[in-house]
Symmetry: C2
């Protein structure tokens, strides 16, 4: 497990207020069949923040059972450090290849709080950890100094950054600068799907992908082109998805990809945990049009 390439983040669809185990299983098999490099269950896309400990254990078990050797990572974030430690223990015992941890917040967190959280968790860890920087959900902003401080902890293997500048030269400069402050063994993974091609071309080692968790094939086209040094191929494959990126920008990638999964029959509507409602009908119609136009399946 080297924390490179395409890490696919599947949804955890619900059905009648419970986890839809058949849908989870089918999504994992779909990702394995497509040939993703790793599967990260219980990311933000996997609704981890809304699931209890038993449910999170169950999702990990299902993923491991059907992963057919593809490395499985699992999100272990929670508000209280105590809960993060329990979830981490569960994930390790089940046999994950790594854990993903975001500094989830209710009270605004200080840099010392966050460094302490990663310190507490890595002190009890036997698998690699991905630092999950997702300010849109955590409302915590890492600085480069804090990246460096956390990346120096044992077991830290990768940082999932929220995005890169849209301009290719600026993106490359950003990744160079970030790499200069991180230990050599810590990979950099881009998220924010619309800029993923730019990020990979700019030198990111991995793409932590919402798209790839439901639609692995277009995500793999972008990833493999970038890995082969085919910059224009990666950028074109991403540009082809512009109508989807526009929907992501308008409604957030999470609700759009849930709508896509429902439309494609990969989940039953409504598949999100309340209070999160799916897209309203008018926006759903637009999702359908984009699916048809881009021939997504």
């Amino acid at each position: 497990m080297s924390f490179t390439g395409l890490s696919a983040f599947p949804l955890t669809p619900q059905h009648g207020g419970e986890i839809d185990e058949l849908a989870v299983t089918a999504l994992v098999r779909r990702l394995v069949a497509a040939g993703v490099d790793s599967i990260t269950v219980l990311g933000s896309t996997g609704s981890y923040a809304y699931l209890d400990r038993a449910e999170r254990r169950r999702v990990i078990e299902l993923a491991l059972r059907h992963a057919d050797g593809v490395p499985v990572l699992a999100g272990v974030g929670a508000l209280a450090t105590r809960d993060v430690l329990h979830l981490t223990e569960d994930a390790q015992r089940a046999g994950v290849s790594g854990v993903l941890l975001a500094p989830v917040s209710y009270q605004p967190l200080t840099h010392d709080d966050v460094a302490g959280l990663y310190g507490d968790v890595t002190a009890n860890l036997s698998v690699p950890l991905v630092v999950y920087d997702n300010p849109g959900t955590t409302h915590f902003a890492f600085t480069d100094e804090l990246y460096a401080r956390v990346a120096a902890l044992p077991h830290v293997a990768s940082i999932k950054i929220p995005g890169v500048p849209a301009d290719p030269a600026e993106a490359a400069a950003r990744i160079r600068s970030l790499r200069s402050i991180l230990p050599g063994h810590v990979t950099i993974g881009v998220s924010g799907d619309p800029v993923a091609a730019t990020g990979l071309v700019a030198g990111c080692d991995a793409w932590y992908s919402v798209l790839g968790g439901t639609l692995p094939e277009p995500a793999l086209r972008i990833t493999r082109a970038a890995q082969a040094g085919d910059t224009s191929g990666a950028v074109e494959a991403s540009g082809h998805l512009r109508p989807l990126w526009d929907l992501f920008a308008r409604h957030g990638s999470f609700r759009v990809i849930a709508g896509v999964a429902e439309e494609l029959g990969l989940a039953t509507r409504p598949c999100l945990p309340r209070p999160l409602l799916g897209l309203p009908d008018a926006d759903r119609a637009e999702v359908r049009r984009v699916i048809e136009r881009l021939e997504l399946r």
Copy 2:
């Protein structure tokens, strides 16, 4: 229970990673002895977001056992609606006089999500509900339109607003305007302690108070003056606390009041749930100076 006057929000101090039951009990008795109008356990100040279901049930039980007839409200917020429903059921069964609910978020919430959350919860409710608008922790911004939509639901008794404009005339205009869109039986409670005197003078019915949960006497001086129509008395009593408000502005009221409680021996250091660290030593020294200067006890 009329959702007026001073509602005091005590901390839920921890000791060695567990709830410090003696400290919780002592805080509740302190508030009762001071004569607050209600006690709201498990508010943001009470760390509700970091406690599990059993702990939250225990805090409610302790508060009710020692409240000596003072109405006890309890926060029931959680990310997943399912959990909010369980917590609400627990609080009702224990015998609270009301529940307090904030739209806690991980994925950004839409107005429809939030209206749906309050709809789901009030449909299962037998006690009054306080709508808890706290954008600093929930990252959700109510509009007046949404206030009106939620306030029209059954059992909604009060809205805890995040503050009022510092200018007295603007504050009064704001409360008049808010009252014009709310049903007559729904009270308006101010929070944001530094503007509480302004809010009460401007016509707020209640003060949902961080200060009052640890230092009820200065909070009562402000409240009783405002209730008696003694505007200058209320404003002066609040102005006297300026050094404390300055600390609140710099470090957030939550960490400062936890430091005050530790300094006064009402909690043992560190009393906050990890990953939340107490104030660093330099800031603690300043808390001590303010306690001495204002003769807080």
